[in-house]
Symmetry: C2
Subunit: 67 residues, 2 copies
DNA sequence: TGATTATATAATGCACACATTACATATAGA
DNA sequence: TCTATATGTAATGTGTGCATTATATAATCA
């Protein structure tokens, strides 16, 4: 399961750094998530990412995203 | 984030035990996930649950489910 | 009566999400 | 020059997903 965070940020004209500040996660962990180096995620953080990016889990997951 | 696994299983007329067998997870962990006692999940298992239940992450998460 | 289905809890250990701290590079603006 | 933006990596420790093993109850079926 790959996360489309890069694409969504590009669509919104926002940077990773911006999302990092909004989220409040450690940058280390944040960077691993965004660059798809993690094998799972806390629901709390998944929800926060969706809230901030104004999207749903299906939009985030490459496998379920429908343009 | 609450998972709607109970509802989806009911709709499909399947039992938790059936899903447990399909998934191949330990029953302990499986039971915690299904009964919403976990704070996160591995992408691999999220994908497997969606595949078996023939649904998407948005269908699974109560916060994003639209009937 | 015994096996399978069905569901649940507890103890122990490993793998990994996540936090914290630190270090590093590069650009842009005050 | 100093600060903030922007991105990345490494080391160490805590919390927790998940596996394994065990125990328990109850219904259904051979």
């Amino acid at each position: 399961m790959k996360l489309r965070i890069h694409e969504i940020l590009k669509e919104k004209g926002k940077t990773k750094y911006w999302l990092y500040i909004q989220l409040g996660l450690s940058y280390q962990n944040f960077n691993n998530i965004v660059n798809n180096r993690t094998k799972g995620i806390k629901f709390e953080n998944l929800k926060a990412i969706c809230d901030i990016l104004e999207c749903t889990p299906n939009d985030l997951f490459e496998e379920y995203y429908k343009k």
